[in-house]
Symmetry: C2
Subunit: 372 residues, 2 copies
């Protein structure tokens, strides 16, 4: 710590002692000896309060109360339909947040900050959603102002994939400086870490890769253009294709499932693939290949060291990731892929939820979050 701050050892020691006195840091036990005197493990004190992280996507809402070191105190998950609009969804969210705080015996004055991820472009400076394709009713709506009225704490809102990147950066303890996180779910987005920091772009819309064209003759996307990768390889497109396959009788497994439940979801397609259904596997491979084609452009441009792929679709199994890899290595230049690693980032990792907590902690230390 002394080295990082360019402080002398005695100055650093005095500073730590003062922070322990003030209750900012806690001593939580001795570390293993590495030869000399055993070092004390320090941690930001629980008495500082907690941050609330929220990861919202098109169909669900994850919440967690976290200590300043991102240890989870309590968590909750709720199924939603984001298209019901901000009024309904945020009222529900506020209820859940209060419940979570009550469960931990946390008063509102102990809430340090709130961090929240949403599945659409956010103008990070104003906290407003801008033209979010998956949630049109939220256009121009400020989640930050809404939550700030309900809670006294500062509020920070960001795109969910940026928060996956921030969570990853935190978990990796900043050992990687240039990497990407791709989420393939209801939409397709990308979080960018560049020079060791999350990069949001001029208007906060960096990483909006879902509307990169992968087929000029492809289907029309809700954005108005043709052949966007999101319109061809995200969850809704895959589900539509699976239903078509079932109706045409190309997969007896999917046809049976469709008849039994009246509809199909991504989980059905994943199960079909696991039992070796050929038609399901073709759909998954094609989606992986299209995502890989988009990613090849992005890798040529950005030359990252790692790409982490997560989300509902990527979670289906190793076949999707294999197809992505094959497509990227085929289409990208040799130098860009020489050391490139493409890895899975399972949803169970909670990267975005951790990222929401990190955002809350980090930003509340450096800015006001729109608080008066």
């Amino acid at each position: 710590m002394a080295r990082r701050l360019a402080y002398s050892k005695s100055k650093a020691n005095a500073m730590v002692a003062a922070l322990l006195d003030e209750g900012v840091l806690d001593e939580v036990g001795l570390q293993e000896s590495s030869g000399g005197r055993r070092a004390e493990t320090l941690r930001l004190s629980e008495s500082l309060g907690a941050v609330l992280g929220v990861d919202m996507d098109a169909t669900s809402m994850q919440l967690a109360l976290m200590r300043p070191d991102m240890a989870v105190l309590a968590r909750q998950c709720e199924t939603i339909d984001v298209r019901r609009g901000p009024g309904v969804i945020l009222a529900q969210l506020c209820g859940l947040m209060r419940e979570l705080m009550a469960r931990c015996g946390l008063s509102s004055s102990q809430l340090i900050a709130i961090g929240m991820g949403v599945p659409g472009p956010v103008d990070f400076a104003s906290g407003q959603l801008v033209n979010p394709p998956l949630m049109p009713d939220w256009d121009g709506f400020s989640i930050r102002d809404y939550l700030r009225e309900a809670f006294v704490a500062p509020v920070f809102v960001d795109n969910d994939v940026n928060l996956m990147a921030l969570g990853k950066l935190w978990r990796l303890q900043r050992t990687l400086s240039d990497f990407l996180v791709i989420k393939v779910g209801t939409g397709i987005g990308c979080g960018i870490v560049c020079h060791g920091q999350v990069y949001r772009g001029t208007n906060g819309s960096a990483g909006d890769v879902g509307h990169i064209c992968v087929d000029q003759a492809g289907p029309r996307c809700h954005c108005g253009n043709q052949g966007c990768v999101e319109a061809m390889a995200a969850a809704p497109a895959l589900v539509r294709a699976a239903i078509e396959v079932a109706q045409k009788g190309e997969s007896s497994w999917l046809a049976e499932r469709l008849q039994a439940s009246g509809s199909l979801g991504i989980e059905d397609l994943a199960q079909a693939s696991r039992v070796g259904d050929v038609a399901a596997n073709i759909l998954i491979q094609r989606a992986g290949s299209l995502v890989g084609q988009m990613l090849a452009s992005v890798v040529n441009f950005f030359n990252p060291s790692h790409v982490f792929i997560g989300g509902l679709v990527a979670d289906m199994g190793p076949l999707f990731l294999a197809s992505v890899r094959q497509s990227v290595y085929h289409r990208s230049l040799a130098l860009s892929t020489r050391h490139l690693e493409i890895q899975c980032a399972p949803l169970a990792d909670d990267a975005a939820l951790v990222g929401a907590g990190v955002l809350a902690m980090q930003e509340s230390l450096t800015q006001s979050g729109g608080a008066p």
Copy 2:
């Protein structure tokens, strides 16, 4: 200066006085009064020596001897064919460099450093070219080691478009933090400025946008893939298309020119466009539109504030840039293009040459450039 360094005014004044004493800084006259006492203009002293900047592309070599503040002392331009390989080209370059130094009466000990841009991917750490499509004979060759043997100064080699970005950053006095420089010449490349610094990627190949696919059914590129934007919209593709148009009799202007000189170049196409030749204009518009299509993907991903477009093809006239703009605004998302400015960066600007000088100065202050 005091504010930037977090020094007190008196400490900053004492430091400047010491640097003047040591001959590192020169006083070169009083500035206009802005109310109070007129400030002295300071400049890095000429007595520190000079840097040598080189901007090499597939067909020409620009050299300049520059003062530490990038004022040009002498310059030279030479036509080359980069495919003749490093032996021939670098022997010629060394001769020109010595000539330039002699012309300025500069001894080799006064050469601070050499900065050089090349039209291909460079592993910035090792100074080696890696798989450069336009100059296959240079693969794995270290220009740095070659020049370091011929001159005593440290040598820094980078991709030419990275140097255009660095030159632009210098000229703009770092007022923009996130922008792109695209060069459309014999190849197509992109320099990236992110968080106020040139971003080179994990292997130094960031910005390799020439091989982004814009047409799955397009012609085969020298990289092995199909429909790369470089194979369809860079100078060689345009010249081939112009010759075809002339031979088919679709442009009498180009046909006459072809018959008169036996071949056509980019300059002929530009002239045909200026006299209103319809077929020439269609070719230029199509190239601009394809570059715009590639750029739309990149803008969706990176959300820059500015894109500067230069190079042989972009220099042809406003029609090319207009087509690029139209295609980007059509294909990119609203939020990414809300404040986006796409501007021309004429070759006459010498951005890459200035960038080579800035690279030499900047890197020699922070690292050894492979010097023993």
